[in-house]
Every structure is written in C-alpha cells, then in structure tokens.
C-alpha cells in the first residue's frame, strides 16, 4: 500500500453518469488484488473517495464509478493526462481464484465492477448482472468475454426481467458451483447470503460503507461480523471490503 500518483491514460463514459478510468501506476498494479480498492484525493474535499478496482493490468488499473455527489461529479470532469493522488491498493480482496473451480459472480448496479478482475482470473465463471433498467447496464461485454453472462433488469427493459436472486437460484438448481462472489446493494447481498447458505456454497460479498481514513485507523466504516457465535466489530476498509457472507451481519 502506497500513496502514489497515477495518471489517467484512458477515460470512457459507460452510461450517463458512470465512468471508467485506466490509471497508470506500475507499483500499485503489481500489488493489487481482485476486490481491493483505492482511495482518491479530490482537490477541495476533506475526504478521499474509495473506489473499487475493476481490472488490473501490467502497469495500470481500471476503476469504474458512478457520479453520486459533488466529489464524484468533480472526478467525472477529469480527463486523460490528469495525475491523480491515490492511496492504493487497500483492503482485503477476494480469495484467490483456483484452477478447476467454478465461480458464480453476482453483481448489482455499480456493484458489478469490483467482480470483473476475479472473473477474469477464473477458469470457469458464470456472471449474473442486475441493473435497475436498460440505461444502467454496464460491463456486459467485459463479462461476456469471461463466460456465460445473464443480464437482468428490474423493469425488464433489457435482458431478462427480474432480480439477480431469481437467476442465482436457477443457476444453483441446474449446476454445481464452488463459490459465489457478489457485490451490490445491501438488501441484494442479504438475499444472496441466504441463498448461498441454503445451497451450501462458499460465498464472499464486497461491502460499501462511508469511510474517512481508508486504512483502518479511524474506525469510521464499521460492520458487525459474527465469529464463533460472538458478535465482533470489523471495519470495511481494513478487514474488508470483502467478507465471507456467512460471517457478516447485514
């Protein structure tokens, strides 16, 4: 983990209000693991913006973010050539992909980017990507390159009609998977955790929480985990953002 300068070498607008940057920094790229995040400084703002890593290349990383407030709106104005002050890579990512393992990826909305690198590193992956509607769909082609991909929308305006949980259950009923990796809104993660438990599949989920330091010092981003029947405090930035779904209380 370092504080570093990373230059934007590619910028894409994926959908209205959702952007993709490729940030060049070799050391960060070489240290980074799927599921980790970076903390981005925006001039004039006290707090950095934690954004998950979407893809890792030889000497660069990709992030995908949605404009949610003034800080991310400022980031959206950045262009190729901008040198960005980041602290990275941060947190604990997903368990390493193992060969011969069958992975089921479940992403909801802006929760889809953090799962892509893990999907790329798996020999066998099926992806279920859920979005509110047609205008929110992102990364469909990226996931299709990795394996079977189901895209669904809440209103049926694109792909399949329904929530990701419907297609998760269908997948688990018809095929044996070794692990699930999920990221998205909390109610979705809660439902996925219950399904994973029911089908007895190892499941990891990536959480989001409001953060200050991003390194585990300020204790701002607490979540509650349960280990050996005891409730314990954990922090999304340092102990997560990826947790075993059976351990975290949602």
């Amino acid at each position: 983990m370092i504080k570093a300068i990373a230059e934007i070498i590619k910028k894409d607008c994926l959908q209205s209000g959702t952007y993709s940057f490729i940030l060049k920094n070799k050391q960060v790229a070489q240290e980074a693991k799927p599921g980790q995040f970076i903390n981005i400084l925006i001039d004039g703002f006290t707090l950095r913006r934690p954004i998950s890593i979407c893809e890792i290349f030889e000497d660069s990383i990709r992030i995908v973010f949605a404009v949610r407030g003034k800080g991310t709106a400022k980031m959206a104005e950045w262009d190729v050539g901008k040198k960005v002050d980041i602290i990275a890579p941060l947190g604990n990512g997903f368990k390493d992909a193992a060969s011969g393992e069958k992975l089921l990826v479940v992403g909801g909305g802006i929760g889809t980017p953090p799962l892509l690198e893990l999907a790329k590193r798996s020999n066998y992956v099926k992806s279920i990507l859920g979005f509110r509607n047609k205008d929110m769909v992102i990364l469909e082609e990226d996931y299709k390159k990795q394996g079977t991909t189901v895209v669904c929308t809440d209103d049926g305006s694109y792909g399949e009609n329904g929530f990701v949980t419907k297609f998760l259950i269908q997948s688990l009923e018809t095929e044996k998977f070794d692990r699930i990796a999920a990221c998205g809104p909390k109610p979705m993660l809660k439902a996925i955790a219950e399904i994973a438990n029911k089908y007895n599949v190892f499941c990891e989920i990536s959480l989001e929480e409001r953060m200050a330091c991003g390194v585990g010092a300020c204790l701002g981003c607490q979540c509650i985990i349960e280990k050996d029947g005891k409730k314990q405090s954990a922090h999304v930035c340092k102990d997560g953002p990826v947790f075993k779904s059976c351990e975290v209380l949602l």
Binding site: T46, R210, C213, A217, L219, C221, Q222
Partner: protein
Amino acid sequence: MINKMAVNVAGVDFKNPLITASGTFGYGREYEQFFSLDKLGGISIKGTTDKPRMGNLSPRIAETPMGMLNSVGLENPGIDYFVEKTLPWLLTKNTTIVANIAGSTPEACAEVAEKLDATDIHMIELNISCPNVKQGGAAFGTSAKAAYEVVSKVRQKTKKPLMVKLSPNVTSIVEIAKAAQSAGADALSLINTLLGMRIDINSKRPILRNNVGGLSGPAILPVAIRMVWQVYRAVDIPIVGGGGISSAEDAIEMMIAGASAFQVGTAIFTDPYTPINILNDIDKWMTENNIKNINEIVGTVLEW
C-alpha cells in the same frame, strides 16, 4: 545542538509540538506504513474506556464543507487490552505517548487512569468532551461542576501528567477550563469536535445513523483558534491546541494564539503525510523568520 522544535507540556517532553489527535490515528500502526512514528512529537491514542466498546452503528462518517462529521462513539478494545497488547509496542516507537481516556462515570474514568498510573505511559488526556456517547463524554465537559468532579476523581488516582480535553459545545469554555485547572489538571487540550448534523434530502434521513456527530476538519480552525486564545488568557496551565489544523501556517497560528503544542487529526485523512509536511514547513518557516526556538512564539498574539 538544541532541538529548536522541542517543547515541554506540563513536564512532558515532546521532540516537536505535533501530536496526532486521538481517534484519527489509531495507535499509529496503520500510518507506520507511510512514515516512521519517531518523526512525531507525540501520539494521542484512540479514546480508551474501562470496558471494550463497540461504538455506534454505521454510517459513522459524513462529509461536510471543508470538514467531516463522525459518530464513531468511542469504539475501542478497553484499557486492559491496551495496556497489555498495545502499549508495550507503542513505547518502543521513540515518541511521546498520550493516553486519551474516557468513561461513562467519573469512577470509570478514574479506574482507567489508575490502571495507566502503573504503566510507563507519558501522559494522560482525559476526554470530557466526546459528543458521541450517551452518558459521560460531553456531559462532563459541558458543566463546570461536572468537569470539576470528574477531573478531581481522576487526579486522585494518577500521578501521571494529566491533560483535560475540552468540549467546544459550551457557552463559556473559559469557565470549564478554570474548573479543570482548579481540579488539578496539569494541561488542557482543545478543542474536541463541534456537534453537527447532515440530512439526505431525498430520504430525509440523517446521514449518520447516530443522527448527530462531531464536526472536524479545516472548517473548525477559527473556532479552535478563538477558544485557545480565550483560554490562554484565563488559565496558568499549558494548552495543546487542535481543531482543523492542516498546514504549518495553521499550526503556527494556533501556537501564536497560546498553544504550547498542537494536534493534527482530520487532515491526516486527506493526506497521510500531513504531519511530516507540517513539521518540514514549520522548520522552513522558523529558518526564514530567524526563530531559534519554537517556544518563542507561544501566546505572542498582539490583540487589538
């Protein structure tokens, strides 16, 4: 050679006047990945209580213009864990260690102080100003009588240099400062966070799960400067000033207002190297202004 940055607060030596503020720096472990802790004048540890505390529910953080709110609520593993597991490691770091302590009753605070009295900790900072806990915390810090009582009880249980951290959420901070002094405080630190609130206009929900939280960051600097200046004129014990410091200029301003040393907190979130940058820039400023000893500037404000 005399260290031109060295300061002494109530008999406690700090190699320079920069102390990392409680709650923003943990115990230094995370920031040791960025720089060596021996560069710091001191570290004020995460607020520690008699028993372990889980703190408040998340979300605990909200950004504000030039600052932030927090409602962590004194999450910590408790004094016994700290003394046994963390303090021995901290004492090897060649910097001054200040134990920030809090409690829900004067007796609980005194118990924590007593346990520290038997250790090699350098100083105690009694937090009578945490806005995020229901009992104790700020309640002690907002009345002179309650402040006097808790400081007296803690004073009886420890011979360690005792600094009392004051709340800005009061009508007259001078009154509380005087009460703490007469109850036996060796030094004062101020200010803690200012109570604030943010609301999501779409959901109409407060952003913090605790509804309210403590405001910190550059936005509160002028409040802190004003309060340090007021208190400096009213008490005889040294002051450690803090609240919104993010640059050498802010720190120097705080010392001119009357602070013998200063604390840096929220600015570390913006840039973890803030403490190092501040120290380098103060050094440069002293050279440029021919200041041989940083203590020369304390309380030198020329008020109108």
